[in-house]
């Protein structure tokens, strides 16, 4: 087959379908026997896909030792996404982040890491027992949200810690705000280090002129993508892409083999194969439709909803360089509703949002979103806001603008990350935040907004930290992961 004919196939899905049509009888796991064992009440929902819920019988290859159709599907994915090698994931970007950290870091190794990263990165660092040098994110004044790092901080951290094993960044952030990675990749490589990118929210990047370029095009060595988030794979379907020789692929494969089920889900793997084929054959056209829907959404808001503020990048924006059009961050300019309240009101109207903070509601659209979806959203917003007069403009705007510059805006000294152990909790106590100076935190503290982890497990609490956290609490930030969600008290180690 020629290259372009091959792209029109989905080797894994096609073979599964063939196996099904050949009518084999299963004397192997899973126990539901191609769906026969499913509760009849759930038959309609589950039966069609469970017909293909296979396992590693000889003709269906093995994710952990791919030699046939899974290898072929991964090779096609590598070509499609611009990698040299691609690994399918059935346990989300979580497993990719864990595996890439465990590949480059052994116990006590230093890794340079953006401070505002997904918890799976922190978990990977804990599993590795790495020492982390945290890079401060830039900070977007207009929204109060944390974005990506500065090139100069990357350079300084590498100069200060030349033995570091690599640089790990998240790009774009949850709200779609991204930075240029090409210059960073160049300097990281010049220092002999690999650049590792958690691109969970950017699987669609590079497939359309209106979208930012991908981390792989920018030169990153390992890139982890949640194919289910911004593209169309089944939930938990993700990919890890590799290029170049800075990372040992054998070790990477070994780590992935440890962290993913030895009975990986064939439907999830097939959905990755199908998604890749779709991007190869219909991707740009399909994204074009989706972008048409988004343009329509912006047009409707600006024509009909003066109450709604929308996060936009302007030419003056210095806190980030790119914005994903599929992530729409809105807020109530009338100051009537917090982000949480607006999210709940939209939910009552049948429009489920991606997330909220005290000010914003984040809406996630994709190539599968439709004009009808937008009409429903606009009508819901009109119902919510028509009774409200636009006079108390942007009263909530101030809430998230905690633009002091506490110590977390600096490059950190190396912090040893370790798994919390049972014995650690023996000496843990909740004390008032204002009395916590000098103690080490026994919990992670992440105020939203801006979503930057201010204290990591085991990190020392400074005067600046206390001042910042008190201000954030006063202004209505929510604290995820702390025992006291108002952060009047904080858990510390009594040593």
């Amino acid at each position: 087959l020629s290259r372009s004919n091959k792209k029109a196939n989905a080797p894994l899905y096609d073979r599964m379908l063939l196996h099904h049509t050949q009518g084999h009888t299963s004397f192997h796991v899973p126990g539901h026997k191609n769906g026969a064992g499913i509760d009849p009440k759930a038959h309609e929902t589950f039966a069609p896909l469970l017909r293909l819920d296979y396992t590693e019988i000889p003709s269906l290859d093995d994710l952990h030792r791919p030699e046939g159709i899974i290898r072929e599907a991964q090779q096609l994915a590598a070509a499609c996404f611009g990698a040299e090698q691609t690994f399918f994931h059935v346990n989300g970007s979580t497993v990719g982040n864990l595996a890439m950290i465990l590949t480059v870091c052994a116990n006590n190794d230093i890794l340079i890491v953006q401070r505002n990263v997904h918890k799976s990165i922190i978990h990977g660092l804990m599993l590795a027992g790495a020492r982390v040098v945290f890079l401060p994110p830039r900070w977007d004044e207009a929204s109060g949200l944390a974005t990506g790092v500065n090139l100069k901080d990357v350079i300084r951290a590498m100069n200060d810690y030349p033995a570091a094993k690599g640089v790990l960044l998240s790009n774009p952030n949850y709200h779609g705000m991204g930075i240029d990675l090409a210059d960073i990749a160049r300097v990281v490589h010049a220092n002999g280090m690999p650049l590792l990118i958690d691109e969970a929210h950017g699987a669609h990047y590079g497939f359309h002129p209106r979208l930012p370029i991908s981390a792989l095009s920018s030169g990153a060595d390992i890139v982890v993508q949640s194919t289910h988030k911004m593209l169309t794979a089944m939930t938990m379907g993700a990919m890890l892409h590799v290029q170049g020789n800075r990372v040992d692929r054998g070790i990477l494969q070994q780590r992935l083999g440890m962290l993913q089920s030895s009975s990986p889900s064939y439907p999830i793997m097939a959905s990755l194969d199908l998604c890749r084929r779709w991007m190869d054959t219909e991707g740009e056209c399909s994204l074009d439709n989706g972008i048409g829907v988004i343009d329509y959404l912006h047009q409707q808001i600006s024509l009909r909803l003066p109450h709604i503020g929308v996060l936009k990048r302007t030419e003056d924006t210095r806190s980030y360089e790119t914005l994903d059009p599929f992530k729409i961050t809105i807020h109530d300019r009338s100051g009537t509703y917090t982000g949480y309240q607006l999210r709940d009101k939209l939910g009552q109207a049948g429009c489920d949002a991606e997330m909220a903070d005290v000010k914003h509601v984040l809406l996630h659209l994709s190539l599968a979103s439709t004009h009808e979806d937008v009409d429903r959203l606009i009508n819901a917003l009109l119902d919510i806001f028509t009774p409200i007069r636009l006079e108390k403009q942007d009263i909530l705007g101030e809430i998230s603008n905690n633009n002091s510059i506490p110590s977390f805006s600096q490059i950190s000294t190396p912090i040893t990350m370790q798994l919390p152990q049972q014995r650690d909790f023996v000496n843990v106590k909740a004390i008032p935040l204002q009395q916590a100076l000098g103690f080490r935190a026994a919990e992670m503290v992440i105020p939203y907004p801006p979503g930057i982890p201010i204290l990591y497990y085991g990190e020392q609490i400074t005067e600046e930290t206390i001042t910042y956290l008190q201000l954030a609490a006063k202004k209505g930030a929510s604290f995820q992961g702390t025992k006291d969600t108002t952060l009047t008290d904080i858990l510390v180690f009594i040593e």
Copy 2:
């Protein structure tokens, strides 16, 4: 609702269905938007289930912090399976095994572990950096297969290593051969240790008088079950059950939160909920049907297939105490076909087996297997064996009877388990097995049969090991995981 009424509900699945019928519009992940984004060519297969491929929106709870329907579904599962607390898994028993080890073991801690365990247990020990004292399995002379441990070895190991953090066993083995755990649980608890059981192949135990009792009934503290293997959940659906106070459940929850996707699959979780409801309402009746099918299979083989030997437990069997009726281990008594050849011939006839070794084919049946499945199998076997005269009886029987007693039949000294690192491979070399005395193995060596890991990564190679492995290779054992599958050469560390 009364207890029995509650059992007839599937709170998670029911709520997902309700959410669907309410017709919400998704402005959240996943990007396929309830299946709208799936390739039209795969619509028929994927669309019905992708309608319910949700994420953690407020009404659908959160696996990592369950407070609503997921908590309720897990509580019903705990009651159904006889646990105090149950954790749903979306990454197979693999993640349960990793998490339970990381819960009880920190770096350098000793754990007493049955030698013939699933690779996920070895991976968990590597991640923890634990020191392992391996217990030898018993050995079944009739089949040549390794089974469970002896009570006296458990006692001796605990006496020799009183600081060990617990005892971890696998039960039943892949072929359904199991041991009595109640006495072991008693002595382990008397030594103040928890008993951890990988019961991946026993999720159905305890639900029918013809089945062995479960590890939980025997007193185990943590039990991991592949609900998808012997019951009817979707592949990767598994559960971890806990009882008693010997294990810190907070730490366990933290470990599971690290190792599973932060976007866990709702269809897989719902399939666990549905499977639990089925067991609560129709379980015994459904297993009764399945056992009827198995009785029919045995009857047909004994009436019509003198060529086929079937693994059976007799009153004299001392190498194991229980045999799962749903695992049927057969071999060719005429000596014509190896297990591999027989497996392939069955596959060509449309009957896909679970696994094969040089002698045996393992057939997996379940409560969803039917008389029609058995008829197809019997007809396939008749086609294969009718031309063959039964004269060279059991010529292959001898192959797996490597009944020498090498060093791996002893309790090992503590072996430090560590993640293989890139630098380790610099000093790795393939040398002839016969020259490997005194070197440390740089690969795991597991001959099938009997499926006991003879050498772990980093374990020293003894005279006895070499003799045993040469004999196994000569007799046709296959070596999984070694670079040279004939094991003429072995990878060792050149130090």
